[in-house]
């Protein structure tokens, strides 16, 4: 099973995302509601891909990403940002940070698993 960690402070969207990604039976999904929780979960569970909301209270997505990059082998886990702000300049900034990709919010529930599969190459 391919492990996907979905991080978003919005409970309803976590629920939809988990259902949507698990439409692909090859994916196992866990969710987290905050940056610190995500870092701890990533350290223990070692996901194959992290989907990371950009705007979260407390610790935002780019900060979580930076923390992951500082922590040994977790630095190699590919991260895809989930964001409503998809202007070219903002997307370019995420790629400059080292993100694997960007998924626009709101996402299409019927396509999310396919998008995740594409980012896994």
């Amino acid at each position: 099973m391919t492990r996907i960690l979905y991080v978003d402070d919005e409970a309803d969207i976590r629920e939809v995302a988990q259902m949507s990604i698990e439409l692909d039976p090859g994916f196992e999904v866990r969710t987290c509601s905050s940056g610190p929780e995500a870092i701890a979960e990533a350290a223990g569970w070692r996901p194959d891909l992290i989907l990371l909301d950009v705007m979260m209270p407390g610790m935002d997505g780019p900060t979580v990403f930076a923390r992951l990059r500082e922590q040994g082998d977790m630095a190699r886990i590919p991260v895809v940002f989930i964001t409503a702000r998809t202007h070219a300049r903002e997307v370019a900034a995420f790629f400059e940070l080292g993100a694997r990709g960007v998924i626009a919010k709101p996402f299409d529930p019927m396509r999310l698993a396919e998008q995740v599969r594409e980012f896994l190459g």
């Binding site: 978003d8 919005e10 309803d12 969207i13 629920e15 939809v16 259902m19 439409l23 909301d53 705007m55 409503a84 919010k105 709101p106 996402f107 529930p109």
Partner: protein, 95 residues
Amino acid sequence: MTDFDAQMAALRERFVTRMAAERVVIAAELARGGWIAVRDICHGLSGLAGVFGFAPIGDAARAVEDAVDDGAGPEIVRELAAVLLALMKDADQGR
């Protein structure tokens, strides 16, 4: 209907109920100048409404969120929020 469709329909219904409650809160926060509370509710709506087929509500919520983030004046925020509240009311009445 697949299990997924049924689950999505249930979540969509729950979201519509949530919007009805948040409509009341947004109106109250607008009345008392609670811009950050309005912004935070709109942030949640902007990411989620489109997932459930309410793209215009998501767009209107994002416009309010952006206006607050950009420091727009109260009249502009209230004007944008009025559009959002009307769309939310329509969604509630369309159930």
